[in-house]
């Protein structure tokens, strides 16, 4: 029972963060701030959501698989973000304005 409540709270928070991150990725002004918002969904949203499901599934193979998924996402998400930011920053050398003005970048 208590587990149910906790898991529902986790799921609700997860849903909230996933949504807020998505909103941020859409609304924020430039690439780097959007990246910040996107990583919110990737980290907090994922942990909370998958955590909520894990509590629901109890100790089973499903939980192990969920933990594996979580592990992979935790490994890959930040790496991908880093690599992306790095590429965007490097691209400043040749063509694109990598650190765009506050109004947004250029295509």
């Amino acid at each position: 029972m208590i587990v149910d409540v906790i898991s529902f709270v986790l799921l609700a928070l997860g849903a909230f963060f996933v949504f807020m991150g998505g909103l941020g990725a859409l609304r924020l002004p430039d690439l780097y701030t959007r990246m910040h918002a996107a990583s919110l969904t990737d980290s907090l949203g994922t942990i909370l959501t998958l955590g909520g499901i894990m509590l629901q599934s109890g100790w089973s193979l499903a939980t192990v698989k969920l933990l594996t998924i979580l592990f992979f996402l935790m490994m890959t998400g930040p790496t991908a973000s880093y690599a992306l930011a790095n590429a965007a920053l490097l691209s400043r050398d040749d063509d694109a304005p990598a650190l765009p003005p506050a109004t947004g970048g250029r295509e």
Partner: protein, 88 residues
């Protein structure tokens, strides 16, 4: 509750798609694709759980892995482009 989470994920997918459509830089689009990928992982995990077939979590795992390799392939692509661009 699952439905709420699923709805949130779907809305976020739509938002990410919008970001991928409007850009403006290519990096924004890559960001959106990556975000879209992780949301798909979450979606599949939840639906697998909802439909009572937790053995399908394998799919979510596969998506997570592929998504990562996809982003790295994009970076390699940028790097290659820059390399070739500089030479010519």
């Amino acid at each position: 509750m699952y439905y709420v989470v699923t709805t949130a994920i779907l809305v976020t997918m739509a938002l990410a798609l919008t970001r991928a459509l409007v850009g403006p830089t290519v990096y924004d689009r890559v960001l959106a694709v990556n975000m879209f990928g992780t949301k798909t992982v979450l979606l599949v995990a939840i639906i697998a759980f909802l439909s009572g077939r937790p053995d399908f979590l394998d799919l979510a795992l596969a998506y997570a892995l592929i998504n990562f390799v996809g982003v790295l392939a994009v970076l390699e692509f940028f790097q290659k482009k820059r390399h070739f661009g500089r030479r010519s």
